[in-house]
């Protein structure tokens, strides 16, 4: 039960984080469309780091 609550909290946090990353990346792309490639790469790397963190937490709780 507590596991599930923890998992929910992790997902909320990760979701907010991913939203921030994605949103800011979109803003960046909108502002500077010529930098799309670089922004996307950086976005994927940061998203991957966040994902690793979230998964780590999820599996620690499992």
């Amino acid at each position: 039960m507590y596991n599930l609550i923890g998992a929910g909290l992790i997902v909320i946090g990760a979701g907010i984080g991913l939203g921030q990353i994605g949103g800011k990346a979109m803003e960046g792309i909108a502002r500077q469309p010529e930098a799309t490639g670089k922004i996307q790469t950086a976005m994927i790397i940061i998203a991957a780091l966040l994902e690793g963190l979230a998964f780590g937490a999820l599996f620690l709780g499992k």
Partner: protein, 166 residues
Amino acid sequence: METLLNDFSPGLFAVVTILLLALIALMVKFAWKPILNSLEERESGIENALAAAENARKEMQNLQADNEKLIKEARAERDAMMKEAREIRDKMIADAKEDAKEVTASLIEKAQASIEHEKQSALAEIKKNVAELSIGIAESVIKKELSSKKDQLELVEGLLKDVTLN
């Protein structure tokens, strides 16, 4: 975490480690090294070709510039030559005119001189003729023994009629 650790199989880990090591070694030896070398070779080849093309282009440009320069020089030379020729021609014409003028002038002079001379000689001739004529007339008049004044005049007049002054 506990279930995860339970799922972890050290045996599989060891086997996969060995296989992966072998795979990396084999791939590096038989695939990546030759592939990357060939790719690099090809890329440097392309780069060289591009550089060569660029050089050729530059050379071409230089050649073209040279050509243009040569043409310009040639044109300038031609212009100079033309100008010179024209000058020479003009000079020649002028000279010729001058010469002609001199020649004509001298010719005219000569002609005038000769005319004058002829005139003088003609006049002299006339004078001589007139004198001879008058002498002739006078002779005939004298010979005829002129009886009357009137006859004398008629005679002079008739004689004068015969004489045409030239």
